[in-house]
């Protein structure tokens, strides 16, 4: 197996090359029953991935291992284990700068250990995909599902998408490479799922056949060419601007940081197309009770929506699928009818509630309630959501 075996019609493993539109929207699909870890393998298998670097940490170890199997089976071009997560994220950057379509996975403490690399990724405009299976931040050691780590990722300049379940993880992983590699976008993509709730949960999923794969990445369409010591990013890594001229350095950084964030915003039309919208709305469209959530929390909110309907109470769920770029227009439109916006979350700080509050400031009169909120890996039973909603509604009625 070698990149030399690639033809215009087939990749090195013999899979027929197809467009992302065909893969996501047109190819026939069959039902399978698998976990989020297993579906990660299935998605990567169909993406003509050049390189992957891994490091074990619960709950993403299975996914990392299965990507390794893909290498052994001849689907992934290069695979190795890094020294630790900092090493992995640096090595991933090296692969991507050399022009490789590159993927990696990590969780919780691994994410924090690697932290310095993420703004470096976006700054060097590499379209790496990180599949982040969120786990608690050690305080002390925990391996439980908790998505506090996402708050640390918000301002790294990377795109952040949030998949709700096994199906979305599959589809988003495929769309992720495509949107991240658009020449006018070309920034890293972090595809987040809640660890365990998705990685270790087995459910049905519809998959296209595995004898087709995405067209290979073309690094020569990138805004920064593949690494070369005389050209950026190689040049500015070898000779940092600050070593040459303070003036050039701050002028470059001032404009480049805006540009990185503009590049993230330029992903919006592509993401709308490949994700079928940046936000999905379910339930009663004119409801005054609105849940705004992402990931597993939106699943729990949908369960609450169903129970509230049985009680004769209207509600709807606005599921945010992208966090960076934040879907301001979609959120405002979807919450027009809202009087009470509940933001259920699996972390202690309520990072999504803060995002929602900031986005709607001065534009909505709805009361934003950051509840229920569970942390440390606790589950959020539908009963807890109903309790919050009914208590709030009854309070308003003076009951």
């Amino acid at each position: 197996m070698s990149i030399k075996n690639m033809t215009k019609e087939k990749n090195w493993s013999g899979q027929k090359l197809v467009s992302t539109d065909y893969m996501l929207f047109e190819a026939p699909r069959e039902k399978h029953f698998m976990t989020g870890s297993e579906v990660t393998k299935e998605a990567i298998k169909r993406c003509t991935v050049d390189a992957s670097v891994s490091y074990p940490i619960t709950p993403q170890s299975e996914a990392a291992h299965l990507i390794g199997e893909l290498w052994a089976e001849g689907y992934v071009g290069m695979y190795f284990r890094g020294e630790n997560e900092f090493g992995v994220m640096s090595e991933v950057a090296g692969c991507a700068m050399a022009g490789a379509r590159t993927v990696t996975t990590t969780s919780g403490p691994g994410t924090l250990r690697a932290m310095e690399n993420f703004p470096m990724w976006s700054g060097t405009r590499i379209p790496v995909q990180l599949i982040l299976m969120a786990r608690g931040i050690n305080s002390p050691l925990t391996i439980q599902p908790d998505n506090l780590e996402v708050t640390f990722m918000l301002e790294t300049g990377c795109m952040i998408w949030y998949a709700e379940n096994v199906q979305e993880l599959f589809d988003m992983t495929i769309a992720g490479f495509t949107v991240a590699e658009m020449p006018d976008v070309h920034v890293p993509i972090v595809t987040v799922v809640d660890g365990f709730f998705v990685s270790h949960t087995r459910e049905s999923v519809m998959l296209p056949p595995d004898d087709i794969a995405l067209m290979p990445y073309d690094p020569y369409k990138a805004p920064l060419p593949p690494i070369d010591s005389e050209m950026p990013p190689g040049r500015f890594l070898r000779d940092p601007f600050v070593m040459k001229s303070n003036y050039i350095s701050y002028a470059t950084h001032a404009s480049w940081q805006w540009e990185v964030r503009s590049a993230v915003d330029r992903s919006i039309p592509y993401a709308r197309h490949y994700l079928n919208g940046l936000a999905h709305v379910t339930g009663d469209l004119d409801a005054e009770i609105v849940f705004v959530a992402c990931g597993t929390a939106s699943h729990q909110a949908k369960e609450a929506n169903r129970e509230l309907t049985k009680l004769g109470i209207k509600s709807k769920v606005v599921k945010l699928r992208t966090i960076r770029p934040f879907p301001h227009a979609e959120l405002l439109e979807a919450t027009k009818s809202a009087k009470h916006i509940f933001v259920p979350e699996f972390n202690i700080v309520g990072w999504l509630e803060k995002e929602v509050t900031q986005s709607l400031y001065g534009k909505s009169e709805a009361k934003i309630i950051g509840r229920p909120r569970v942390a440390g890996g606790m589950s959020m039973p539908v009963e807890a959501i109903l309790h919050e909603v009914l208590e709030h509604v009854n309070e308003e009625k003076g009951a």
């Binding site: 399978h32 029953f33 698998m34 297993e38 709950p59 299965l66 199997e69 052994a72 089976e73 391996i143 439980q144 599902p145 809640d194 660890g195 365990f196 709730f197 998705v198 270790h200 949960t201 087995r202 459910e203 049905s204 595995d210 597993t296 699943h299 729990q300 949908k302 369960e303 169903r306 890996g377 606790m378 589950s379 959020m380 039973p381 539908v382 009963e383």
Partner: protein
Amino acid sequence: MAKDTSMAKDSIKVRMPALGGQGAVTAAHIAATAADTEGYYAVSNPFFGAEKRMAPSESYTRLGTVPIYDRGEVIYPDIVMIYHPQVITMGKSYTMPFYAGIKENGLVIINSDIELLTDKDRAFLDSKNVKVLTRDFTKFAIDMAGTELATNMAMLGALFGALGNFGKPAIEEGIKDRFLKKYVASGGTASLDSVIEKKFKKKRDLIEKNLQVASAAFDLTEKWAEEVGLHQMLKTI
């Protein structure tokens, strides 16, 4: 006699407290796969933590005729399946008492050779109209399959016998899917294939034995359900 369907729900949640090594995670996986093959919505997951033999271990299965969004630990179960007496006697459970959160008209299946419920437990469960079946499913597994490792298959058969929604072919599908690894074993390398082929006879035996245990437990609880007038818990599709 036809089952009372008036209390059947469109989705039910099953909590399986067990001890590490008993195979509760495998049982939940097979139960969900089996239900999925019969066209029901199904989701399974383990409790999220470190695994140790004889330490508390828990898994969950959700079954429904409607899409199931609920994820994670089952805090309010319709069915609780106790895989080992120590769950009750030594409190090896993530929830105390073992039936915490159980819903009205629920079901408890206990694997034990002796009666473990106190009068207080029984009064509480009666007040919730929860039916309780205590049987020595470990002995059942040893007698039928020659190994206590098949206890989880007995528990699985017991669950499906009590529910009545899923037939034995579905259990067979679930067991085969788990042990023949239809989706994951896509390696395709000649060496891997030959290793699997060598083990195949042993694997067929394993599947056969597991099926016998599950099938016998299925018959047992099906009969018990009729005797005690257990209502239909999950709607049929």
